[in-house]
């Protein structure tokens, strides 16, 4: 029983660190109405940058900031491809994602970097809080701290004049242009913020698991979407923006719990991505199927 509880706790703490990535996906997918595949690359980018900086003796906390900045740069490139060169949204993301694979390999110099014995923000925190022995608890506390700060900043930002116009851009571009908003700039800005968060999440995950891998970002977009959808289904579209953001992170934690449970039940870990894809496909398909069957019958 204790083992199950422990695995649940580590699932939740993992889910919260990945939840920061989910916030990024929420910004593009829900607010900007843009399915951005860059995240597969920028998640690994964040991990790669953070790991390389750490083994070169940088402060692990500072390395996360650099990871955030490089992620923003990646988002900006996708945004420029899409707005200035009119490349379709999905393709712009795919191009950045593929390019980032090579870039990440170049940054790391090899396919993976181990952080064994290195200082990470998690080992630093453990030194600061010697009374907490459980590693999962430490990473849970750090994850929650990051999430609370990020949500507070996002809540403020999307309530400002610029944030308001980004939200409107995802809603109705015609209106935004007619009211003097530059929709191209707003999209670039949204992608930039989103990928910054995704890379930050990648850096945190790399430090928490103790290694960065060039393939660690594969399927990030699908995991992000699954978490956003789970959060929405369970917590509903209620209350204000902050509630929605918290429900997205909670969705990510629940996703990890579901994964931990199905693994306990005997699902092979090699089938995880298939399982996740099925969750997302089902979640997107159910409303459509439902509508088909619940059409009011017309009697003539």
């Amino acid at each position: 029983m204790n083992a199950v509880l422990l695995s649940m706790q580590s699932a939740v703490s993992q889910g919260i660190l990945w939840g920061i990535m989910t916030l990024g996906v929420y910004i593009t997918y829900k607010i900007l109405d843009y399915a951005d595949l860059t995240v597969d690359g920028s998640f690994a980018l964040g991990g790669a940058v953070s790991a390389v900086l750490i083994i070169n003796g940088w402060n692990p906390f500072l390395s996360l900031w650099i990871a955030l900045l490089t992620g923003m740069l990646a988002g900006m490139v996708t945004g420029i491809l899409h707005t200035m060169f009119k490349i379709p949204a999905i393709l712009s993301g795919i191009l950045s994602m593929i390019a980032l694979y090579s870039i990440n390999l170049t940054i790391m110099g090899k396919a993976n970097i181990a952080l064994l014995g290195m200082d990470t923000i998690f080992t630093d925190a453990q030194k600061l809080l010697p009374m907490i022995e459980n590693k999962a608890t430490i990473s849970l506390i750090i994850g929650i701290l990051f999430v609370v700060v990020i949500i507070a900043v996002l809540y403020w930002f999307f309530g400002t004049e610029i944030g308001e116009i980004i939200r409107a851009t995802g809603n109705n571009e015609y209106m935004v242009r007619a009211l003097g908003g530059n929709t191209d700039t707003m999209k670039i800005l949204g992608l930039l913020i989103s990928n910054g968060l995704v890379a930050l999440s990648g850096g945190l995950v790399a430090q928490s698991q103790g290694y960065a891998d060039v393939g660690m970002g594969t399927g990030t977009i699908v995991i992000g979407l699954a978490s956003v959808i789970i959060g929405e289904v369970i917590f509903g579209k209620r209350f204000n923006f902050a509630y929605k953001l918290f429900s997205v992170v909670a969705g990510s934690a629940i996703y990890r719990i579901i994964i931990a449970v199905v693994l306990q039940l005997g699902l092979k870990s090699s089938n995880l991505k298939l399982f996740t894809a099925i969750i997302v496909a089902a979640a997107l398909a159910i409303p459509v199927v439902k509508e088909k069957f619940t059409k009011p019958k017309v009697t003539i």
Partner: protein, 259 residues
């Protein structure tokens, strides 16, 4: 006020689908004019409005508005000078955002947007007062999502948003065409009220000849990318629907002869 000189717009240049939407068009509108525009399908009415708004750039010609050459100015920049209402009620507002948020965005048309809070407290009161003027009960639902409103309500809201910051020129592109007759007449009377109150320079496209005669002090008829009829003042007041129909008949006769 608005000067359009030798304006050309040609779509799909060099293909078999080439369409000369505007041909050597010249138009001068004075401050305070309320111009109604009529014409058959494909006459170039909407193209003209979209050219003024900056949705398309001209092949040739020049557009000057309020002393500024706006011919090549991007759409979002010239929005500072223009209020716009579209034919499709969905286009003018953001459905997933609150009524008050839509108004706050509209109030910042042409102003620099920064990191200040999106809706100031005093704005809420101000907009609630404005909404009362529409007489649609929207002042009691300022935090409702715009997507919950009917087409007519959305169009009325768009009108209010377009005039919240007084525009140099108000562009109405068949803004009542998608509404039922009763709603359309309500939206038209709101239009008239706003235009008169603020003395707005306005261009209104309409398919309804009665409306074209009833509203405004000037009427323009377009055909094949040109202005073929332009009356104002007393002459317009004395114009009747039958006169306009005659004009249209002349056109179709001429078109038949041309073939």
């Amino acid at each position: 006020m608005l000067y359009i000189e030798n304006l050309y717009k040609i779509f799909n240049i060099g293909t078999i689908n080439e369409k000369r939407a505007l041909v050597d068009l010249n138009l001068h509108i004075n401050k305070g004019d309320f111009v109604t525009v009529i014409g058959g399908n494909g006459a170039g009415k909407s193209t003209l409005l979209n050219m003024i708004a900056g949705v398309y750039t001209p092949e040739k010609g020049r557009i000057t508005l309020a002393g500024q050459d706006i011919t090549k100015m991007p759409e979002y920049k010239r929005a500072a000078l223009l209020g716009r209402v579209f034919q499709d009620p969905m286009r003018g507002t953001a459905a997933d955002m609150e009524i008050i948020e839509n108004l706050a965005i509209a109030a910042r048309r042409g102003k620099k947007r920064g990191l200040k809070w999106g809706i100031r407290k005093d704005e809420v009161e101000k907009y609630t007062e404005y909404l009362k003027m529409l007489d649609l009960g929207l002042e009691n639902r300022i935090h409702s999502k715009v997507g919950l409103l009917s087409g007519g309500q959305r169009q009325a809201l768009t009108l209010l948003m377009a005039t919240l910051q007084k525009p140099e020129l108000l562009l109405l592109d068949e803004h009542t065409a998608a509404l039922d007759p009763k709603t359309a007449s309500k939206v038209l009377s709101i239009t008239e009220e706003l235009v008169t109150k603020e003395n707005l320079t306005t261009i209104m496209i309409t398919h309804n000849m009665k409306d074209a005669l009833r509203f405004g002090n000037r009427l323009i008829m377009m055909h094949e990318g040109r202005i073929i009829f332009d009356v104002s003042g007393e002459e317009k007041k004395n114009l009747k629907v039958t006169d306009l129909l005659e004009k249209f008949d002349d056109l179709s006769d001429r078109m038949l002869l041309a073939k």
